[in-house]
């Protein structure tokens, strides 16, 4: 009985190791974080199974203490170097990384946590004009225009982009660090202007896609 069980286990492992190799290779070659849907389509597998294998591979890399890790970012998987290797790589690539100014970080944080948000709302929170910062963030493609708000003047509404998730290594927006609440007082701040409903946002996004 024991023997039979052992044999059977060996077989299953062989089958998955073949798939595992292919999945690993696909993620390796992909230029952008590779989605499980895409892998499932190519290998004709179930999405859930692909994900299971990916998470196994992820664990292996983490445990093996290698120079690269398999990370789940922007709803896909991507091989990335370990943070402790950054200095060496910076010398190799020689391109200076984009440095965030404090205004840029502040603004990006407000947009990330409060999206969809208009520029006026951000400026009220920051107490300063933020036009320049918005321009930079748009150019870096960290934020994008989601559409227009249905209030007088139809101001543009902004949100973070897929590149934002890639840049900060987040799987999705739920991976944003929780905001530190300083007190109950802070939470009952009246909303600035009416909320844009999710349905509305989706509608404007749809329109946007056709551009």
């Amino acid at each position: 009985m024991m023997k039979y069980h052992h044999l059977n286990w060996g077989k299953i492992h062989l089958a998955t190791s073949d798939v595992r190799k292919k999945i690993e290779a696909l993620v390796f070659v992909s230029e952008v974080p590779l989605k499980t849907d895409r892998i499932a389509e190519i290998l004709e597998m179930k999405k859930g199974d692909v994900r299971k294998v990916l998470l196994e591979v992820q664990d292996e890399y983490t445990a093996a203490d290698r120079g690269i890790l398999l990370e789940e970012v922007a709803e896909g998987f991507q091989f990335r170097t370990r943070p402790e290797c950054s200095e060496a790589i910076q010398q190799l690539v020689k391109s200076r990384p984009f440095r965030f100014s404090r205004p840029a970080l502040e603004t990006l944080a407000i947009i990330a946590y409060r999206q969809p948000v208009t520029r006026a709302e951000v400026e009220y929170l920051r107490g300063v004009d933020s036009g320049g910062v918005f321009k930079t963030l748009l150019e870096k493609q960290l934020i994008r225009i989601l559409g227009k708000k249905d209030v007088p003047g139809r101001p543009l509404i902004y949100g973070t982009s897929r590149e934002f998730l890639e840049f900060f290594g987040m799987r999705d927006l739920s991976a944003l660090p929780t905001l530190k609440e300083f007190s109950d007082l802070a939470s009952d701040i009246p909303e600035i202007g009416a909320e844009v409903s999710v349905a509305e946002t989706l509608k404007v996004e749809e329109q946007n896609e056709e551009i």
Partner: protein
């Protein structure tokens, strides 16, 4: 003032106020408005070469502080409590300060994360072969920046303008719209670059680009790309047999 403050270090009036409150070890819920206002005004006084726009924002806050202070000095009506519970004129300011502090901290937390191309790196392929589209590849809508990029690249490639040449026969946007539709008919998609000749004239590039945007606006064409760096493709937005060249007056498009 015992300490010097460099105004350049502050992102705005809220930032400066927070700094002053911390420096004085004040309770944020019990701001000594007189002290803070005095220090705040001292800082503003010391700002000499300040650009006007920033100064305006700092001055607005100064006015707000003085307004709060004056409100605090006024006697309160005892029998007036049926009004809103916001008896303390400082409440609104405190709320804004706390909210600002929250996002300022969040920004710092964000910058401590493992950032791509600073702390962590992913492989990048510049080679076009990997980017070329295959059937069934995931297509995403083209963003405005990609479109502008593509347009600018094209303009750089355009042939040198002839000097003193007068184009008698002007290519119109509606002409190009129809020729793009003709190109598209019977096809599943066409590449953005297929719209142009080898070395197109600048005017042709502009007119063609306008025609393409017009088609998108008319919902006849969708612009898609495989991924951020991929080529831009035009897809018919309606069933192929429905597209047929049609008459479009230049006037109706607004390019006369």
């Amino acid at each position: 003032m015992a300490y010097e403050i460099n105004i350049e270090n502050f992102q705005g009036p809220l930032d400066l106020l927070l700094h002053l409150i911390k420096k004085n070890e004040m309770d944020i819920y019990d701001i000594q408005v007189a002290d803070i206002t005095e220090q705040y005004l001292a800082v503003i006084d010391s700002m000499k070469s300040l650009n006007l726009d920033v100064a305006g924002e700092f001055l607005l806050m100064a006015a707000t502080l003085l307004h709060i202070k004056s409100k605090l000095l006024l006697p309160q009506h005892e029998d007036d409590e049926s009004e809103d519970d916001e008896l303390d004129p400082r409440a609104e300011l405190v709320r804004r300060l706390l909210e600002y502090q929250k996002y300022k901290d969040a920004g710092e937390t964000l910058s401590e994360m493992s950032l791509l191309n600073r702390d962590v790196f992913a492989r990048k392929f510049q080679s076009q072969e990997l980017v070329v589209g295959h059937e069934g590849d995931e297509m995403v809508a083209v963003g405005i920046f990609e479109l502008v990029d593509a347009f600018q690249r094209l303009l750089k490639e355009t042939s040198d303008p002839y000097i003193h040449e007068i184009n008698i026969e002007r290519l119109t946007v509606s002409d190009r719209i129809n020729s793009i539709l003709t190109l598209l008919s019977g096809k599943e998609n066409i590449g953005f670059l297929e719209l142009f000749e080898e070395k197109p004239e600048r005017s042709i590039v502009v007119v063609t680009f306008l025609a393409m945007l017009e088609l998108v606006r008319l919902r006849l064409v969708r612009l898609m790309q495989n991924n951020r760096c991929g080529g831009i493709w035009l897809y018919p937005a309606v069933a192929n047999d429905e597209i047929s060249p049609f008459e479009l007056g230049e006037d109706s498009l607004g390019y006369v």
